[in-house]
Symmetry: C2
Subunit: 109 residues, 2 copies
DNA sequence: CGTGTAAGGAATTCTGACACG
DNA sequence: CGTGTAAGGAATTCTGACACG
């Protein structure tokens, strides 16, 4: 019945920085800085350069805030994150490989 | 694992009018007018009076747009909507009643 | 009735920089 | 390194009103 996938909604970049500030409790300075350090990637509103964030971005910012409180440097956060990203991709590759393998064995048998 | 309910996300008032315009294709004038006619109820951003809409609001606006294209008056849309709202409440009451009834019968038997 | 528009003001956001440390 | 802040400008939003129909 519903045409909208709840996942896509979380990814839509529609929230401006002031609202993100309210949602996360971070200062605008902090939010922009984390972007500068490549931890977050807002979209830019059409004509002007106004930043737009998704709910996923907000969640990520809250995770970042936690890490920062623990004294982790932006550099570290970024590195950890890319590591996880890669692990996830490798995992998906393995899954795919498994599927193909299973299919092959199935036909042989 | 996830702490955020996808439903609550859809209800969060975080989108400003310019973005709603882009999402719906409606003019800001129209969006504000539908509010004046009690078809939509944005929140107002803290200190200033800036309107904030949810994804649900955006969906509703698109439904309104469709009705308007069909030549339905705002007055009619509002009336139809309240009717459905009431029907839904009555239905929920019936459900509740059914539950109690079932529970009662269960104990007796 | 529903919507466009010009008007003036207020609040938001942006960037680059200086400061502290 | 991470964050606060004052600075000046540009884009956004707001309200009440006049217009057309």
């Amino acid at each position: 019945m519903k045409q909208e996938d709840p996942t896509s909604i979380k990814e839509k970049k529609v929230i401006s920085i002031g609202t993100v500030r309210e949602l996360t409790g971070l200062s605008e300075r902090q939010i922009r800085y984390y972007e500068e350090r490549k931890l977050i990637f807002p979209a830019r509103s059409g004509s002007s350069g106004i930043r737009k964030y998704s709910f996923s971005d907000v969640e990520r910012l809250m995770e970042i805030a936690n890490q920062m409180e623990e004294g982790v440097q932006t550099h570290e956060i970024r590195r950890e994150w890319k590591k996880k990203e890669k692990a996830n991709e490798d995992w998906k590759k393995q899954m795919l490989k498994g599927q193909i393998q299973a299919h092959f064995n199935n036909n042989k048998q």
